[in-house]
C-alpha cells in the first residue's frame, strides 16, 4: 500500500459528528468562520478535522433573476459555460489538464438566483493550487468572440438534451403565464429564441461579467480538511487584486395578480398528463414567518404522508405523484403544486381536489401532531445530508446565496419551531386566493 493511499484510507475512517437531532440547539452544528474582504468577497470557511477531502465552492449571485433585459433570458447559465474557457495564462486546455490530474469532481450549475462552481478534491496539499487556479479564472477570464459563438451552440445542445422532457415545458409555461414582469418569468435555460441569439451576444457577455462576476457579488465557501489561517492566506494572496463593481441590480417588480390564469400545452407524443398550480408567494426570510409557515403547510398537506397524497396516489390511484414545491428565492416566487395524473380525464378532478384542500386549510387548523411530525422530518432530512464533507458544504450553498450568512439555517429552523397552526391558517388565507392562481395542464399522445 502506498503511503498516499494509507493516509487516504486512514482519513476515511474518521467519523462525522452529527448531534442527536431533536436535542440539538442548532440544526447546523459545525463551526464556521465568515469574513468579508475589502473587495466585498465573502469567505466562509468550515475546517473539518475529518476525511481527506476538500469542497471548494464559488457562489456568484447571478441567476435567471439577473436577466432583466429583454432577449437575454438564459444568460446567467450561458455565462456559467463561458467560465470554463480559461485565461490568457491558463487557457482552457491547461485548466482542464489541471482539473484532470487533480482528479477533482468539478462542474458548475445555475439556478434562478445564483451560479455555483465547485471543485471537490482529495489532498490538503492541493488547496493552494486550487485557490490560485480558481481565483485566476474569476479575475482574469478570457475568451474571444469565436469561442463564445461555439459555446453558444452547446447551450442549444443542452436545450435538446431535455427537449423530450414534458416537465420542463410545464415549468416554462407556468412561469411564463404566472409572471408578467419579473425575470423569474423564464427558466434558467431561457427561451429558445434567446438561446439561438446567444452567438451574437459577445458584447453583452462582457457587460454581464462586469456587473456580476465581481467580488462584491461572490461568496467563496471552503469546507473540509484544511487550516483556516492557511486558507485565508491563500485567499488574500490570490483574490486581493479582484476589483468590486458596486453595481446594484434592480429586478422588475411583479404587479399583483388580479384574476386567475390558465394555460394548456399539447405534448406531441404519449405522456402522462401533468398539472401545475402556482400562486404568487413570498421571498425567503428567516425573520418573517410567511414562507416558513407555508413550508410546513406544504409538508402537512401535500407530502407523501399527507391525507391528500395518500388518497390521490395510494387509494384512488388517480395520480402517479403529487407534491408541493415552495422553493426559497431572493424575490417573491411561486408556491407550486405539481401532479402527474394517470388519465387525462382526471385532470379536473385532481385540480379540484388540490384547491379544495387549500379551502379546507383556510377553515380548519392543522393538527398539532402533524405539525410536530413535520418539524421532526425537516430536521432529520437536513441532518441526513450532513454525512460527508461535501454534504456539509453543499447543504449550505442555497442558504449562503439567499442571505450570505450560514447563520440563516439555524434562524430558519428556530422559526419553524415557533410556527403555530394559527400561523399556517393565516398564511393560507393570505396567499391561496383564486385571483392569485395560475393553472397549467399538459397532455398529449394523439400524434405518434
Amino acid at each position: 500500500m502506498t503511503k498516499q493511499l494509507s493516509v487516504f484510507l486512514t482519513a476515511l475512517l474518521l467519523m462525522f459528528a452529527v448531534p442527536s437531532i431533536l436535542r440539538s440547539s442548532g440544526i447546523f452544528p459545525y463551526e464556521y468562520k465568515i469574513k468579508t474582504l475589502d473587495s466585498g468577497l465573502t469567505v466562509v470557511s468550515i475546517p473539518l478535522n475529518n476525511p481527506d477531502i476538500i469542497s471548494h465552492y464559488v457562489i456568484v449571485r447571478s441567476g435567471s433573476r439577473n436577466e432583466v433585459e429583454p432577449g437575454k433570458s438564459g444568460f446567467a447559465h450561458f455565462f456559467e459555460h463561458m467560465m470554463f474557457k480559461g485565461t490568457k495564462t491558463m487557457p482552457t486546455e491547461a485548466y482542464n489538464d489541471f482539473i484532470t490530474e487533480l482528479g477533482a469532481g468539478t462542474n458548475g450549475f445555475t439556478t434562478d438566483d445564483y451560479t455555483c462552481y465547485f471543485v471537490v478534491f482529495a489532498g490538503r496539499e492541493n488547496l493552494e493550487e486550487v485557490i490560485k487556479v480558481e481565483a485566476d479564472r474569476f479575475i482574469n477570464l478570457y475568451y474571444d468572440e469565436e469561442m463564445l459563438k461555439t459555446e453558444a451552440t452547446v447551450i442549444e445542445g443542452e436545450y435538446y438534451a431535455s427537449v423530450s422532457n414534458p416537465s420542463r415545458r410545464l415549468s416554462e409555461t407556468l412561469r411564463n403565464t404566472a409572471f408578467e414582469k419579473h425575470s423569474y418569468r423564464h427558466t434558467t435555460l431561457g427561451y429558445l429564441e434567446d438561446i439561438l441569439d446567444m452567438p451574437n451576444q459577445y458584447d453583452y457577455s462582457q457587460l454581464f461579467r462586469k456587473r456580476f462576476y465581481v467580488p462584491d457579488n461572490t461568496i467563496l465557501l471552503v469546507a473540509g480538511d484544511f487550516d483556516h489561517e492557511q486558507l485565508m492566506g491563500y485567499v488574500h494572496k490570490y483574490y486581493d487584486d479582484w476589483n468590486p463593481s458596486n453595481y446594484t441590480l434592480v429586478t422588475p417588480e411583479e404587479p399583483p395578480q388580479t384574476k386567475p390564469k390558465r394555460a394548456h400545452y399539447e405534448w406531441p407524443t404519449r405522456t402522462l398528463p401533468l398539472l401545475a398550480i402556482g400562486f404568487h408567494g413570498p421571498a425567503y426570510s428567516d425573520e418573517k414567518i410567511d414562507l416558513a409557515a407555508l413550508d410546513l403547510m406544504a409538508e402537512i398537506a401535500f407530502s407523501r404522508s399527507s391525507a391528500l397524497y395518500l388518497r390521490l396516489v395510494i387509494e384512488e390511484q388517480k395520480c402517479q405523484s403529487l407534491s408541493a414545491s415552495f422553493s426559497d428565492h431572493r424575490d417573491p416566487y411561486l408556491l407550486v403544486f405539481n401532479a402527474v395524473v394517470k388519465k387525462e380525464e382526471d385532470l379536473p378532478y385532481v385540480e379540484e381536489a388540490i384547491l379544495k384542500e387549500l379551502e379546507r386549510l383556510e377553515q380548519e387548523l392543522v393538527d398539532e401532531k402533524a405539525l410536530a411530525d413535520i418539524k421532526s422530518n425537516l430536521k432529520y432530512s437536513f441532518a441526513n445530508a450532513l454525512g460527508t464533507t461535501d454534504g456539509i458544504a453543499s447543504s449550505l450553498l442555497h442558504y449562503l446565496n439567499l442571505t450570505g450568512d450560514p447563520g440563516t439555517v439555524n434562524r430558519l429552523f428556530d422559526l419553524y419551531d415557533k410556527i403555530t397552526p394559527q400561523d399556517i391558517q393565516e398564511m393560507v388565507k393570505t396567499y391561496f386566493k383564486t385571483t392569485n392562481s395560475t393553472v397549467v395542464t399538459l397532455s398529449g399522445g394523439k400524434a405518434k
Binding site: 475512517l13 459528528a17 482529495a122 461555439t150 452547446v154 422532457n165 407524443t269 390511484q317
Partner: protein, 498 residues
C-alpha cells in the same frame, strides 16, 4: 470527533445461508442499509418479463401484513426516511438510511416489508400501472436519452436473459397476476440469495439481530444464471426509432468479454476513460464533438454498464457477469446527426487502430488514481463499493485501483484496446424523425457537412470536418430497421418490421 474502526466482514461460507456485509463506523449517528438479492430481471420467467421488478417494488412500495403502505408512509415521515429500490439484470437492492434515534423503529418496518409483505391487490394494481406507464409513456415519450440506451440493450441482448427492460413489457405486465408475484417471492427470496449490508454507527449486537431475523427465510439459493454467449453485431446493425423530435439521440456499442474481475479491466478502463469519461472534459469524444464544435451537451463512452450515482460518480450494485462497451452521444440537432455519427465512429476507429496517445495515457491514469478517491463518500456509497468489491473478487476494489494503475504501461492499454474494442461491428440505436431519409443517407454514404454559428471556425477544425463528413460507413440497407417509437416495449424484443 474521533477514530472509527473499519471492520469489513463478509460471511459467505454456506451458499444456502445469508451473507452479510458490515461497515461499522463508531460514533456515526446514521445507519445505512443495503439488502441485496442476487436475483434480477434476468431471472424473469419467459413471458413474465418485469416480474422481478414488480415483486421487489411491491416489497419496497407496498404494505406489510400488519401495515398498509399508507401507514408505513406515515410512520416513515417523521424519521425522514424511506426504502429505495434498484433492480438490475442480476441483482436488486433495497436501500435505506436512518438516524440512530430511529433505528429500531425503522428496522422493524423494513424487516416486515421484506419478510412479511402484505401483497395487497390494490398495491399490486397501483405499482403495475406505474410500471406500465413508465415504459410506454415516460421512457418512450419523455426521455429520449434513456430510450436510446434501452434500445441498445434490446439490440445487444436479443434472445438473452438481459434482453428485456427491467420493467418488462406492456404485454407481459398486463398478464402478470398477484399470484405470479407471490410465487416469484417464494422461489427467490431465499437466504442464500440475500446479502445484508449495514454501515454506520449501529450497536455492536445489531448485525446479529438482523441476521437472526432474516434467517426466517428458507435456506437455499437460486442456481447461477447460465448466460448464453453475447452476440457480436454483424457489421453495423442500426435501429432507428422514429418520432417527432427536433433532436436525435444516439447510443451504440457491442459486447466486451471482460469484467472488473479481469486483469485486463484496468488497462481497458484507462482507454475508456480517455475516450469518453462520463461527464468530464477528459473525454476525447466530449472534446471533439462538444468542446471543439459545440454540437451537443456531452459525449461519453463506457467499458461496462454504467449508471450515474450521486453527482457524476458511478452508482454501485449494478454488477453483471457480462458487460458491454458503449458510446452515448447526447441529443443533437437533427441536421447534425449524420455528421456526429460519422465523427464518433471515426474517432473509435482511430482509437482502435492507433491506440491512446502516450501523454493521454499518463494524464488519464493520474486522473483515475485521484478521481476514484471521491467515489465512496457517503455511508451508502462506501457500503455499495464494499459489496461490489466482493462480488468481483476483491477485498477493496478502490484500493486495488491504487495498486494496479501505477504498474500499467502504455503498451498494456493499447493491447487491451486491440483485444476488446472494434470499430466496424456495432449496434447503433437512433431516435429521430424523418427516419427513412436518414436511412437512405446512411446507406448511400452521402456527404454530411455541418454549419456553424461561428463563421470563423479554426482552419484545423474545418479541415478535420472534411474528413468526418465523408467518412464512409458500411451500412447495408437490410441492417437498418426503421421502427415507430410508440411500439417499443409493448412486447419482448424489438417491434416487428411492417
Amino acid at each position: 470527533m474521533g477514530l472509527s474502526v473499519l471492520l469489513v466482514s463478509c460471511a459467505r461460507e454456506n451458499p444456502n445461508r445469508l451473507s452479510s456485509e458490515l461497515l461499522p463506523v463508531e460514533g456515526n449517528p446514521l445507519v445505512s442499509f443495503r439488502v441485496l438479492t442476487k436475483v434480477g430481471s434476468a431471472h424473469d420467467p419467459q413471458g413474465k418479463e418485469g416480474l422481478c421488478q414488480l415483486t421487489c417494488s411491491l416489497l419496497a412500495n407496498g404494505g406489510t401484513k400488519d401495515l398498509t403502505f399508507k401507514e408505513i408512509q406515515k410512520q416513515f415521515y417523521p424519521m425522514a426516511t424511506s426504502v429505495g429500490l434498484r433492480v438490475d439484470k442480476e441483482m436488486a437492492v433495497f436501500t435505506g438510511q436512518v438516524h440512530l434515534d430511529n433505528l429500531e423503529k425503522f428496522y422493524g418496518i423494513l424487516k416486515a416489508m421484506l419478510l412479511d409483505p402484505g401483497f395487497r391487490e390494490e398495491d399490486f394494481q397501483r405499482l403495475k400501472t406505474n410500471q406500465i406507464n413508465f415504459l410506454e409513456k415516460t421512457l418512450v415519450g419523455n426521455w429520449d436519452e434513456q430510450f436510446g440506451k434501452e434500445i441498445l440493450n434490446l439490440m445487444m441482448y436479443a434472445g438473452h436473459p438481459y434482453g428485456h427492460h427491467e420493467g418488462g413489457t406492456v404485454e407481459s405486465l398486463q398478464a402478470l397476476t398477484l399470484e405470479d408475484v407471490k410465487a416469484f417471492y417464494k422461489q427467490h427470496f431465499l437466504q442464500g440469495n440475500i446479502i445484508i449490508g449495514l454501515a454506520g454507527g449501529y450497536p455492536v449486537d445489531f448485525p446479529k439481530k438482523v441476521i437472526d431475523d432474516f434467517a426466517v427465510l428458507p435456506e437455499g439459493f437460486t442456481a447461477a444464471l447460465g448466460l448464453p454467449d453475447q452476440r457480436m453485431p454483424d457489421g453495423l446493425e442500426i435501429v432507428i426509432a422514429e418520432k417527432k423530435t427536433p433532436a436525435t439521440a444516439m447510443s451504440m456499442g457491442f459486447p466486451v468479454f471482460l469484467s472488473r474481475a479481469d486483469d485486463d479491466f484496468f488497462a481497458l478502463w484507462i482507454a475508456g476513460s480517455h475516450f469518453g469519461e462520463h461527464r468530464q472534459h477528459l473525454s476525447w469524444l466530449f472534446q471533439k464533438i462538444r468542446e471543439e464544435r459545440g454540437q451537443n451537451y456531452g459525449d461519453y463512452a463506457y467499458i461496462e454498464h454504467f449508471i450515474q450515482g450521486r453527482r457524476k460518480y458511478p452508482a454501485t450494485n449494478y454488477c453483471r457477469q457480462q458487460q458491454y462497451f458503449s458510446i452515448w452521444i447526447r441529443p443533437l440537432a437533427n441536421s447534425n446527426r449524420h455528421f456526429a455519427l460519422r465523427q464518433a465512429l471515426l474517432e473509435l476507429k482511430k482509437l482502435v487502430e492507433e491506440g491512446i496517445p502516450k501523454d493521454r495515457f499518463e494524464l488519464t491514469r493520474t486522473y483515475l488514481l485521484n478521481y476514484t478517491k471521491l467515489y465512496a463518500q457517503t455511508l451508502g456509497e462506501r457500503l455499495g463499493w464494499q459489496m461490489d468489491s466482493h462480488y468481483y473478487g476483491y477485498d477493496d476494489f478502490l484500493a486495488e485501483v491504487q495498486k494496479r494503475l501505477p504498474s500499467l504501461t502504455h503498451d498494456d492499454v493499447n493491447k487491451a484496446i486491440k483485444k476488446y474494442l472494434n470499430f466496424d461491428k456495432l449496434y447503433i440505436a437512433l431516435i429521430t424523425e424523418d427516419a427513412q431519409s436518414f436511412k437512405d443517407a446512411l446507406v448511400a454514404n452521402i456527404p454530411s457537412p455541418i454549419t456553424y454559428a461561428n463563421p470563423n471556425m479554426p482552419k484545423e477544425i474545418l479541415e478535420e470536418d472534411l474528413i468526418y463528413q465523408t467518412f464512409p460507413l458500411d451500412v447495408k440497407p437490410e441492417k437498418v430497421r426503421v421502427l415507430p417509437a410508440a411500439e417499443f416495449f409493448q412486447k419482448t424484443g424489438l417491434p416487428e418490421n411492417k
